[in-house]
Each structure stands twice: as C-alpha cells, then as structure tokens.
Symmetry: C2
Subunit: 334 residues, 2 copies
C-alpha cells in the first residue's frame, strides 16, 4: 500500500510509493561533470568578462579583478533583480506589482574549471560558506532587502547554464511565499508546543536512525520523512539557530566537512547527478527566532516533476527516504 | 528594470525579467512527437496489457476491452494510490501518515498512436473532457475521495513515460496544499469584496486585451499577469462555476474547440513543445462555491526550474506574458 506522509513544517502531502520503489540504478543519467572546451568567464584570466567582484579570497594577496583568487563573488551579468531604484509598489486593477529591486550574485567556488564542489578540499567548501555569510552580512545593511536565498544549480539538468562550479545568491525585497510558509508552519508548532519543530525532528531522527545519512559534531544529515524527491537530503545544525549567517566558527568548519561528505556520497550512489542545493534561513532583517531553524536542502535532479506535482504541490516519490538513507549510509565516507 | 508581480490568488511573487526577454526561438527544443516503433499497451489490439477499462466510448458498439473504441479509460497499471483499504491515519512522533487510498486512471485519448491531442478533431478533444467529467462524477460517489486532479503530461521533458497521447486523473483522500491555497486565497478576496477574483480577472483582462490569447463564446484564454513560466496559458470559463464537472453541454463543446485551438497555437509558436496541462477545480464533495472558479492551466516545458524556484516558490520568468500573448495571438487560428 502506498503511503501518504505529511511534511510537519509546511503541511505538504507526499505519496511514498514503496511498491514502485526505485533504486539508485534506475536513476542513473549522464553524469553532470565539466567538459571544458568552451570559453568560460569564470576562469582566471577572464576576470574582465564578469562585472567587477564584490568579494574575493586571495590568500597570496594580489589586486582585485586579476588572477590569484581562490574564490570570487561577482554580480550576475544578467541579474534577475537590480540594486538601483526604489520599490515603487503599485496596483494595477486586481493585480500588484513593484520594481525588481534586489541583488543577484554569483560565488565562483574555485579557479579550477574542471572540478565540482564535491571535489574541492574541505577548506575550499568551508570558504564557499564563509563567502555566502560575508555577502549576507553585507547585503542585509540595505534595509529594503528582506530575504536572501542562497542556492546552487549543479549540472544542466538542474538549471545551470555555466559549467564552472558556482553558487548563487538572490536578495529579495519581499519574503517569498515558500519561506513564509515554513516560518508560519514552524511558528504554529511552537505556539502549541513551545518547542522548535526542527529540534524535535533532530531528536526523533537521531533516536530512530532510520533516515540518518551522516552525523558530525555540529550537524545531522537526514532524508526527510516526507521527502518530495528520491534521495532528497537535509543538513540540519544541532544547535538551534534561525539564521545561517549566525553560525559560529566551529560550525562553519564542520559544515564544510559534512557538506562535502554528503555530496561525495550522492556522487557515488547516483553516479554524479545534477542537483539543486538551497540554504533555508530566516528573513535577514529579523532577530533570532525560537521557532525557525536554518538548514540546507539538497535535491538530486533524477525525475521530471510533472503536471500533477505543479498542479497540486502533491509529490509522488518512488524511493522511500529510509531506503535512500540506507544507500547513502552504506556507501561509507568516500 | 525587472518587475515583481504578485499572483492575486495564491500570493506568489514572480519576477518578470523583461530585460533578459526570451523570444519563442530561444526555447525551441526537440519537438515532442510520437515516433512509434516500441510496443504500446495503449494501442488497439493490446487491450489485455492494461487493467480492465472503467470507461470507453465505442460509437460503433463492441465489447469491453476489445478494439473498436475511440477513447478508453483504464486504471494506471502502476498506480500512485489504490482504491482498496482504509485511510488508517496515524501519528509517528512529530509526523503524520495515512494509507495511500485513492484512484489513479489514464484516459487514452485516441486509438491512433501517432497523433497528439492537438491533432485530434474538435469532437475528439471534447470527448476527452466528457471522459474526465464522467470519471469524476463516478469517483466522487466514494466519499473518502475529496479532491480529483486531472492532468496531462505531454512529451518526455514534461514527465510522460508513454508517448501514446493520454491524460491522467488522480483522486485523493485529502485536499492538496496548492489547491487549498487557491481556495483560501480566492475566499479571502471574496470575503473582502464579495466578488469572485477570477470573475474580476476575466473582466479586467477582457477590457485590457494585452494578455488575451483567444476568446470564444464561453471561454477566455489568457497568459496570466504573474505567469510563472514563459507562455503559461490559462483557459477560464466566462460563466462563474466552481466545479469543472458542472459544465453545461454548450460549454463542453466550446471547451473542446478552444483547447484544441490553444494547443495548436502553442505547437506553432514553440514548435510542438512538451507541456503540462491541469484542470484546477474544487473539492468534489463540496457544493457550488461563489469564491472559486475552475480553469485550465497549460505550462509549456521550456526551461528547467532550478534551485531558486524550488527553494522559494519565487519564479523568474524571462518572457513577459504580454509578449507571449502577442506571439500566440499573431499566429492566428491554425
């Protein structure tokens, strides 16, 4: 019998179709790996082909917008949103609109075109998180910007248009609907139980172990109970914290380690799939909140979401998360 | 300046990125057309390869599960949900689950393997809607089934696994989150203004004309103001009605005509793209509602939704709906 499971945070229902269970080999596609060969604006020597950098790590010193960096953050050349201008909210009959004020930046994670994030060193992966944190801390000084989403599209199937490994950051003048739903859902739980739903999930998952992929000093990686997608994996900080950018130094170091380990497990089990990765955090102008708990969501791109999913927000997942967790655990640290 | 637009029904924000505007030719991919050649369980003569039919149209008469049909509805051989069993709702610590009780059926739209829905006659397209209506009216007698989603995935990129043209229907024991959001959003509008938001949209779009694709006696086809995707198209009945299955005979006839015309326009402008099509309607156990208005949503599959969209429910659409509407209008009736 298929099972309907409810996500306790958003209230979203998911069908776990164990009878049509799909194993990793059912999903293997073309590996998402760089092939090189085309001109790349993210490679060293091509710094002038991007807008001027807003941040770079140059352990050996050197001048801005020249080679010598190990990580570089630049505005997106084709931004979805722009920093200039005012919001100019207005109605249009039944509709509402405002100007697309915001920021859209790219984190170039390494100078080496041929490496993927999972192939970088622990220190390099940690640096990617520091760069995201540094940019959030800078951007939130602009009080118009209310929410910052940090995400990574890896591989063309996951929406990446350039193959040189990079993450992105979009700062928005509104709190987007999905983020607001998570905030509202976790607040309702908190109002009723006076506990953080994510902290309760951490406790329950740690006790049961069935959906645990990996545990480190400061983090727990699980396949969520109501996984929307096969091999969907979340990384949750053990210490309650509403804002990613409030992470402490030992946490940031440990985050680099566990993220790299999880991506390498996914690479191994699913033969280097395309994936999307997102940091779910709290609105940047708000103070610390007891009810929300930042975390990372990783979604390997294995199936085509279809009309049913779009139309209903009701996902059919052919791989029970307990099985996905077992495959990811069994592959060991690679 | 990019523009942020708010969907008045769900509150979802969308970025209309006019400066990165994409024209139809930017989206052309492999056409989604049948190639034949592989064994097809939906072809006449192979009736025994599907579960026994629950409905068929045989204008010339004939026996069930034998050739002679023009349209056939069968249970999905690999259903996401099953009719047998009881719901058995239960908690599991912080989580909720229930058995996957429901129905999952397939409407085989024509015996001809090589045709797509847009290539069928008006009468055949109308018959597809009659079949959906007939199945809804039958299934809703099971009081456990609260919501029925009717959808079509056309082409592999849109999630179709069999190329013989077909639609699907899933009957659920819960009202899914997205449907509930639309119901709630339109109720809030109604409570405040005592008018249906969709009726107001029909009035405003008809007056402005900028986003009108096609108008028929009983329907208006538009590209919605806060389109999530390039060339997203909605077909709305002019007469207020909360339930698709309550459509009247002249409406059903006219619906076959306009749906076929819209699909042929999309085929022409975008060179036969893959697409998802959904009927958004009201929970089947509820009576007529003044605040909700059933409609069809068609989403050509042109871009890969990426981490940002998944993570936030905030869509970036590179084609302003006014431009999409113009392209679709200009191609004329084909």
């Amino acid at each position: 019998m298929p099972e309907l499971r409810k996500d306790p945070i958003t209230g979203r229902w998911v069908i776990i179709a164990a009878e049509r269970a799909m194993r990793p080999s059912d999903f293997i596609r073309q590996p998402a790996v760089p092939t090189g060969g085309r001109f790349c604006p993210f490679c060293p020597g091509n710094e002038s082909k991007t807008p001027p950098e807003v941040l770079a790590y140059r352990p050996g010193g050197g001048r801005p917008n020249e080679p010598g960096w190990t990580l570089r953050v630049v505005p997106n050349k084709f931004p979805a949103l722009r920093v200039e201008g005012d919001l100019n909210r207005q109605g249009e009959g039944v509709y509402d609109r405002m100007n697309g004020v915001g920021a859209h930046e790219v984190v170039i994670e390494t100078p080496d075109h041929m490496l993927t994030l999972s192939e970088l060193s622990e220190k390099q992966v940690e640096d990617v998180f520091w760069a995201m944190r540094d940019r959030i801390v800078d951007l939130r000084r602009d009080k118009r910007l209310r929410y910052i989403i940090v995400f990574k599209n890896h591989g063309a199937a996951a929406g990446a248009t350039l193959e040189h490994t990079h993450s992105q950051l979009i700062a928005l003048p509104v709190v987007p609907k999905r983020a607001q739903e998570e905030l509202d859902g976790s607040r309702r739980y908190f109002d009723y139980r006076e506990r953080c739903i994510f902290c309760d999930i951490l406790r329950q998952e740690s006790d049961s172990g069935a959906r645990v992929v990996l545990e480190s000093e400061h983090f727990l990686a699980i396949t969520p109970y109501a996984s929307r997608f096969p091999f969907e994996t979340w990384i949750l900080p053990k210490r309650h914290s509403s804002h990613f950018e409030a992470s402490e130094i030992p946490e940031m170091q440990n985050l680099g380690w566990i993220e790299r380990a999880i991506l390498r497990k996914i690479d191994k089990v699913l033969e280097r799939p395309a994936y999307n990765l997102m940091i779910h955090s709290s609105p940047v102008q708000e103070g610390a909140m007891a009810h929300y708990h930042w975390h990372i969501e990783i979604i390997p791109k294995l199936t085509n979401a279809a009309g049913f999913e779009w139309g209903t927000g009701f996902y059919i997942n052919p791989t029970p998360p307990e099985e996905a967790a077992r495959f990811l655990r069994d592959v060991g640290l690679v």
